[in-house]
């Protein structure tokens, strides 16, 4: 027991002291904060004014297109060819050509000097589409007010009736996203730190220190020491990221953004050149806005979320860590790991892929089975939890994960203790299978 602590200590310190760890720990939050603020910042930069010259042969739109903050429409009476020839003498960025038969053809054309952004194209087509729709409606005898009363926005309330007759109303978009993010985080953590376990095992094998060490400790102790040590490295890094990100965001946020700017920036992020999205945000009154913020805390069952996150985070990693260690022990170099990686990567990637499916269909049979199968449950159960998981499912899944961890670690330990002493040989699955039955 004392020796396994020594091993954990070495595995932990040798990684935490590395420059790459320090760099990643500092760089991670900086990148995160940078990304967040870069988004605000980009939104705050006034976009280049787009001067659009409209050649409208249909004459339907003349002077009917409204200018927006960064695009102005100017209508021309000249022919398209004339304007094209003159294009470089003017300071227009874009020529918008509306053909005479626009209603039938439903086609417009844009000519440009420099490729305009997607948002401009979106903006132009949305504006024209909307105008066309309005025109068509009016042509069929519906006026603007009637149109407004026809347009409908539905509000759906989800209420689940439990067997015991309790009604539970859920509006859990936020916790849904949190659950999904937690699942993805677990997925990346397993890959990132599982691969470190594997690399550590290969390093010990190729540097040939392995035989020196296992003449002092049992191979199983070495394997577990390594897995636990690296888990602690991961947790340390994760914790530091959260702390640094939180501190950094607050500091940078306060320093960079005075109140006015802040609100403007937030609104800018919601606003876009596409009018429909603008509408959604505008439609919310201030009361609704505060409701959203309050409901964030009401919706998320934090004790359950955090508790199960830590559980699946840890045991998911431990289970896969043992598998990664077994793979590392069976090869001589990282290049040879490919053939043994499949059983590890396939369930993980499947979990990742199906997590979206589970999000749209959280009570399906697929979701159930994936969330109790130990190799996929760490990711899938996190996605399911926000939708309310029966305690039976949750405990079954947790129990199976722990049982799976013990079983997989036991098997991996058997492969590991034989594999680490096999040098210079390409091993196959058949050999790994035989190792399971060797006497220690």
């Amino acid at each position: 027991m004392k020796k396994i602590l020594l091993i954990i200590q070495r595995e932990y310190l040798s990684r935490v002291k590395k420059k790459s760890f320090v760099v990643m720990t500092i760089l991670g939050p900086i990148l995160m904060i940078g990304l967040i603020f870069a988004q605000f910042w980009i939104k705050m930069i006034p976009e280049e004014k787009q001067k659009i010259l409209v050649v409208d042969e249909s004459k339907l739109f003349t002077n009917k297109l409204e200018n927006s903050s960064n695009s102005t429409f100017t209508f021309s009476n000249n022919s398209l060819i004339d304007e094209q020839n003159n294009f470089f003498k003017t300071d227009y960025n874009v020529i918008l050509y509306i053909p005479a038969n626009i209603i039938d053809s439903q086609k417009i054309q844009i000519f440009y000097k420099k490729q305009p952004g997607l948002s401009l194209q979106d903006y132009i087509s949305t504006v024209i589409e909307k105008k066309l729709e309005d025109m068509k409606l009016i042509a069929s005898g519906i006026n603007a007010n009637q149109l407004k009363s026809i347009k409908t926005k539905l509000n759906v309330t989800n209420t689940k009736i439990e067997k015991n007759g309790i009604f539970e109303t859920k509006d859990n978009e936020v916790s849904m996203i949190l659950g999904f993010l937690a699942g993805i985080l677990i997925y990346f953590f397993i890959f990132l730190y599982g691969a470190q376990v594997m690399r550590g095992v290969i390093e010990e094998k190729t540097s040939r220190i392995i035989e020196v060490i296992i003449s002092s400790v049992k191979p199983f102790e070495l394997m577990m020491g390594k897995i636990i040590g690296i888990a602690m490295v991961g947790l340390t890094q994760f914790l530091l990221w959260i702390i640094l990100s939180a501190v950094g965001t607050t500091l940078v946020g306060n320093a960079l953004m005075k109140d006015d700017l802040k609100i403007e920036a937030v609104e800018q992020t919601y606003k876009s050149n596409v009018p429909q999205q603008k509408d959604v945000f505008k439609e919310l009154d201030s009361q609704q806005k505060t409701e959203i913020i309050n409901s964030f805390f009401e919706q998320v069952n934090f004790p359950v979320m955090i508790g199960s996150f830590l559980f699946y985070f840890l045991f998911g990693y431990l289970l896969y860590g043992a598998l990664f260690a077994a793979v590392g022990s069976a090869v001589d170099s990282e290049a040879d790991t490919q053939q043994f990686m499949l059983p590890i990567t396939v369930p993980l990637i499947l979990a990742f892929v199906f997590s979206q499916n589970v999000m749209t269909n959280p009570e399906s049979a697929l979701a159930f089975w994936l969330s109790i199968f130990p190799l996929t449950s760490p990711v899938i159960m996190m996605v399911r939890i926000p939708f309310g998981v029966p305690y039976f499912d949750l405990f079954l899944s947790m129990f199976l994960l722990v049982a799976g961890f013990i079983g997989v670690t036991w098997l991996s330990g058997k492969i590991y203790r034989t594999g680490i002493l096999m040098y210079g040989k390409k091993n196959s699955y058949k050999e790994l299978w035989k190792w399971l039955f060797y006497r220690a």
Binding site: E203, V212, L421
Partner: protein
């Protein structure tokens, strides 16, 4: 008194038998040579002694007690396939490995100081292993092996990777350790070092022990009663003096001096040989030709080969 004995060890992998009823007996305070061609089963046996793997059958005793995990700290092992963490600093690494062998941090540091001074490598404490030459790494590795003052030391090809000067340094250290009472199991292909260092040997071939005993006795057993005679005088009269109980194997001259290699048959002794030849030539010297461990090794192992070939044809 034996420090270590192994009785009838059997180890199987799949259908392959790595060790077949192998027994060895290591005297306390002696150097025991574990010999055999590549793939004979030496490494399997050494790993079993170190409890890295377990035997399928057979028993082992350390100091008369059944070998168990508590003995790990009293054994030192220098594997043939050896190495250190390349990115770790020398001092930190040796401390770590010493503590895994049960030394406290304090003990380990004071012992390390002694060895680092003795090997003149005090300046390396903060260097990374990858910055050292191969020979330097081997020195560090040797210190790691003996730092916890094991009662039984197992050295697998300890001289590989050393230049002659450092090999000599290590050899003297081994002899010094023996003087202090350490028992050593020494596995090598270098037969010259076996003659120089070993008290007893066991020869393993094809998973079986085919020879065990003290080096002196084995040599005696394998002596062929062959002598080299150095003489001056007429070669023909020398040859004529030989009778049916001896066989002239080789004969050559260097200047005036002649040499003859004579094998004595039918329990003839060298005295009788001298009585026969002294009247005819001037004998300058007589010397028994003793088989080297190298010869014995080759003879024993190739004998086995012949035996198997014959076995197959039968």
């Amino acid at each position: 008194m034996y420090i270590f004995t192994a009785e009838n060890i059997i180890k199987k992998y799949d259908n392959y038998i790595a060790l077949n009823e192998v027994s060895i007996h290591v005297q306390r305070g002696s150097i025991f040579g574990l010999l055999g061609p590549n793939g004979a089963g030496k490494t399997s046996l050494i790993r079993i002694i170190n409890q890295i793997t377990g035997p399928d059958k057979g028993e082992m005793f350390f100091n008369g007690e059944k070998l168990g995990l508590k003995h790990i700290e009293r054994i030192g092992y220098l594997p043939e396939e050896r190495g250190l963490y390349k990115k770790m600093e020398v001092g930190e690494q040796v401390l770590y490995l010493a503590r895994l062998k049960g030394l406290s941090r304090k003990e380990a540091i004071s012992k390390l100081k002694y060895w680092f001074e003795k090997f003149e490598i005090t300046g390396w404490w903060n260097k990374k292993i990858e910055e050292l030459s191969k020979g330097m790494q081997q020195k560090v590795q040797f210190i790691v092996t003996i730092l916890h003052q094991p009662e039984l030391l197992i050295l697998d090809e300890p001289f590989s990777g050393f230049d002659p000067i450092n090999a000599n340094l290590i050899k003297n250290e081994i002899l010094e350790l023996k003087k202090q009472g350490t028992s050593i199991i020494f596995s090598t292909h270098n037969m010259a070092s076996v003659e120089e260092l070993c008290d007893d040997i066991a020869l393993i071939n094809k998973s079986k022990k085919i020879l065990e005993g003290s080096v002196k006795e084995i040599k005696k057993e394998f002596s062929t009663n062959t002598y080299k005679v150095e003489f001056t005088g007429n070669i023909v009269s020398f040859t004529n003096a030989l009778w049916t109980s001896c066989q002239l194997i080789e004969q050559y001259s260097e200047g005036n001096v002649n040499y003859a290699i004579v094998k004595l048959l039918h329990q003839t002794n060298p005295n009788q040989l001298l009585q026969h030849i002294i009247p005819h030539v001037n004998v300058n010297g007589l010397q028994e030709i003793v088989p080297s461990m190298n010869d014995i090794f080759i003879a024993k192992v190739s004998n086995e080969k012949i035996a198997t070939v014959e076995g197959l044809t039968e």
